[in-house]
């Protein structure tokens, strides 16, 4: 018995040769579009038109895939400038830009040691640009700026998500979580906080980031010039 009209095998989106890079790009695309939760091995595989197990020919575990996408984004982060201050500031702002373009990075950054080639290249570029400053200052200074950036972008993204979740229009911090904070502040148990919310400055995310960064750089500068330039 001959089946004259054999059903076509399910057309795979693209049978192009697979590669680690294509895998990573697909994962980043998914994460950019729908967040980190959307990056499951099954979905990445489906986006590439292959079975999930196929991926294990290129990665050993999902953690490795995450490390790879982190490192890929680090390729966009390069320092610029002449003196140490410009260098540190530029790398901080480049990191922030990268996180704004890839919000999921806020969930991963700082969470595990980043030792991929691009990350190391960024560190190398920073260190190379910092010659002339005492290593005893450079090492903790770079670490401090890194720490600050990690925490700052995490908070920034967390707030952005909260805003977005509370109906795109309401921009007020107090209204973000609805009546809860209203009631909480109405109890009078947090007078100092209430005063801050009422009388304090309403800084944009840009300003908050920049001001804190300058605080840190000022402190580092004081140490450098004190240490004999």
């Amino acid at each position: 018995m001959v089946v004259w009209e054999r059903p076509e095998p399910p057309e795979r989106p693209v049978p192009a040769p697979l590669s680690r890079e294509r895998l990573v790009r697909a994962a980043i695309k998914l994460a950019d579009a729908d967040g980190l939760d959307a990056v499951s091995l099954r979905k990445v595989a489906a986006a590439l038109g292959v079975g999930p197990m196929r991926l294990y020919g290129y990665i050993a575990t999902k953690e490795e895939l995450l490390d790879l996408i982190i490192d890929t984004v680090y390729a966009e982060i390069r320092p610029a400038g002449d003196d140490w201050r410009q260098v540190l500031r530029s790398v901080a702002e480049a990191t922030r830009r990268a996180v704004q373009q890839h919000e999921w990075l806020a969930d991963l950054i700082g969470g595990r040691p980043h030792l991929g080639p691009n990350t190391l290249a960024t560190g190398e570029a920073v260190q190379a640009a910092m010659t002339g400053v005492d290593l005893d200052v450079v090492v903790p200074a770079v670490a401090a700026v890194n720490a600050y950036v990690v925490g700052a972008v995490r908070r920034e993204i967390a707030e952005r998500r909260a805003e977005r979740a509370s109906g795109m229009d309401i921009k007020q911090f107090q209204a973000a979580h609805g009546p809860y904070l209203q009631r909480t502040f109405a109890t009078g148990r947090f007078p100092a906080l209430s005063r801050v919310v009422r009388d304090g400055p309403h800084l944009s995310a840009d300003e908050t980031f920049r001001i804190g960064l300058e605080f840190l750089l000022d402190g580092i500068q004081a140490r450098i010039s004190q240490c004999g330039s």
Copy 2:
């Protein structure tokens, strides 16, 4: 037909009255012992001798449980000191201590808006202790210290885990990831980084944290005293 020896129903650890607090305590215990991945609703429920669905009488979702355990730990974080500098430093170090006792907190901190009562109380205590300083400085200063602490403790815990994973004995950063970094550095593509690893200071986690924090506080201080005391 009578079953004379009916098997005992599985003895439940404690049929005590359930409560949100007991639920949170069980979750923290699990997380402290086996990390955040061990906190599944099923395991928490089992630890309490209850079916998983029972928990939904006390929490609406797992995210809510996570918010609750974060806020519970924040009860341990209170500022101390007289001047603003002592206050900020103490709250930073208290946060770090809390994270060291609850490593899983490093995975969560800064990742979502923390608005629980204990967190707010911490913020209130900080703000209350900062009266006398211009609000235009206090707000970004507190934000900056917070950001720094979040990033610093994340890195610290990430490194601790990497050390632990690479066989408790090897303490050297370079040896942590085995031959990979050896080879990478041997390529000569990262001369500045190699120099740092070779000639740079080997700071303890305590020192790194403290030095960075003092950088930041110095920068804030400069701003305060410039702004007219």
